[in-house]
Symmetry: none
Subunit: 201 residues, 4 copies
DNA sequence: GATGAATGAGGATTCATTCAT
DNA sequence: AATGAATGAATCCTCATTCAT
């Protein structure tokens, strides 16, 4: 019963992780289902019990990884002291940049076909404030609320968030992977300044 | 013989155009070398006389298309009256956005694996001012010069240009193709405002 | 428990019927054991409790269907007034042809690998005349007896019956499915005449 | 030029023959394209240059074999002395039966999905009578003409021919392969008699 | 008896690339 | 230079069958 369900979860997870390793080390195109199954220690046919095909897996994997990254970044920002929302946002951005810098495979994988801003649509974060209620909010909702709290003057907070995220994602992709326009550490100050401008600071 | 050279150029061009049509209509992965050769009216083996493989062709094609787009946009901006460089930049941006809106296949193709900002590296535009000298400058050089002319206060013009282009490219990709965060026409004002902020206006 | 036996009978029957539907609608080759089990509402493994494999099921199914058809045809002929055996035979033939015409899937299924005449070997019909005795006779036996009753002059009645059945089955297969040599209704008079000739009428 | 065309013909023929051998020895279902290619001494991919898939090959092969058989039978009958058309027909039938008897694989192969009578549609035989003209006629046309020559009284010669062929093909299939209703040699007299009846002799 | 997750052999098909002409 | 027949590695995916629960 629960045993089987549990086992399946483990197997699915196994496939996810193995696939990610292979995708990032050999490339998506160069990784075959055969490779994944073998490395995950299951039979080829078993793969098809869990995913329609390779692209189904990739899709789900990308969503998983993007959500996890943002969740971690937001959770991290909560552990840090900050003056206002703009500061918190810069902390989040820094966290993501560092994560990508240390894990360039992840960056490469997430960015291949999907922009960061797009992935945001489906991401929901736990917001268990004071009480024990278990609520989740979309990143956009959290952002809007925080903007209000800080009294920032933004005509359309959602669009602004989108602009910021795309700017960050897109420029860091190049800075981290190719040192374009500059190595990421040298680039960060300019990026931070740009973000502040977009947020009217 | 110039005749032979010419003929080869025509054949290479034929392959480029045919490939682009197939890539945008059927998708890159779904287009085989056989398809390209057949549609271009040459034998399969002939393809290999001009390109190493499919990805060699894609690479060159992407560079060609990106360069052409920027060249057109800049040339267009020269035909228009504008007050200062920021205005010119916004005109260029608008041109590119319109071009992408009307030719979404092009957008999809250029953006698939490459960011706009990266493509800029290799783009050189003719700058034959008054005299007949035939000089070409990189987009970055042109930008720097114009910034100076307008007395804009930018610490690092190249980085700023990069930020602007990535912001535009990345957000428009989503706005045009998926109406995220808004349909492109509704999104434009926010984007323009963001660009002005980055340029300190 | 009779209950269990009964339940099993029901399940076996369910598998038979479901399989027939799938075979005739999708084709034998295109129907998988998975399909059959699913449509019958049992697990894949269960299938193997009732049949060795797909071809075991097909075999048994074909026999069942052929036997049922002949039984019905003969029973029908008993409800009709006829002058002599030739007439009765023609009535039976007509019944079968009509049945096949109205149920072409059945024809296709029975005829795929097996000829009608062959299937006759194993068919036994109840011949409970007046009394309550429960006897069964092969079709060949019934035929022989009737020939004797009518005083028909046939050197070898069994062979003649075989000839008639093959002639009918084989020609009607083509007439019904492909209008070869003629649509079945236009073809029938010729066929009837042929049968009469074979029976020395 | 001609060299290549010739080579291709040889290769196609090679595939046909190899496939037939495998089909008849191992069975159609059990023979893979891999098997055929290997046995024919060509690469797997080469198979697909000549045939769409296995069933395309089977179809063409079946037509080839059926046509060849009838052609041989008719040609043989021309070398033999006979009194009238009925006699000639019986000779042809005998030839085909013998051929099938000696080459049961051929019978099995031709009969699997196709009835003999159906295959007749597309068969054309050379009828270079006295003169050197090169005319071909369908079997049905030849039959009609001969019936006229002999003054046989048949309302519809084509239908009669069809009846005869189906009767022969269908019964012999069983007699030869399964001794049903009798071994073929013992069955022949009955069959001949039946054919005579159908032809009003 | 019933289940259905897991297996992995097996077959179809594609396609980049070579090379003799 | 141009051709296109031939190659065969590569990959996808199916499905009958088993077996632990």
């Amino acid at each position: 019963m629960g045993k089987i369900k549990e086992n399946q979860q483990k197997k699915r997870q196994q496939l996810f992780e193995t696939a990610f390793d292979l995708f990032t080390s050999k490339g998506i195109h160069e990784t075959t289902i055969q490779d994944i199954a073998k490395a995950a220690g299951v039979a080829k046919g078993t793969f098809y019990l869990y995913f329609k095909d390779k692209y189904d897996l990739i899709d789900k994997l990308r969503k998983k990884k993007t959500a996890k990254l943002f969740e971690e970044a937001i959770n991290f920002s909560r552990t840090v002291q900050y003056d206002n929302f703009t500061e918190q946002l810069l902390i989040i951005i820094e966290y993501i940049i560092d994560e990508f810098s240390n894990n360039q495979d992840l960056l490469r994988f997430i960015y291949k076909n999907l922009s960061l801003g797009m992935g945001l649509q489906n991401i929901h974060i736990d917001t268990d404030k004071e009480q024990g209620e278990n609520t989740t909010s979309s990143i956009y909702e959290i952002f809007e609320e925080r903007v209000k709290q800080d009294g920032l003057e933004l005509k359309d907070p959602r669009t602004t968030l989108f602009l910021v995220i795309e700017l960050v994602g897109s420029t860091c992709y190049n800075a981290i992977l190719f040192d374009i326009p500059l190595p990421i550490e040298e680039f960060k100050p300019s990026l931070n300044e740009a973000v502040r401008k977009l947020l009217n600071e």
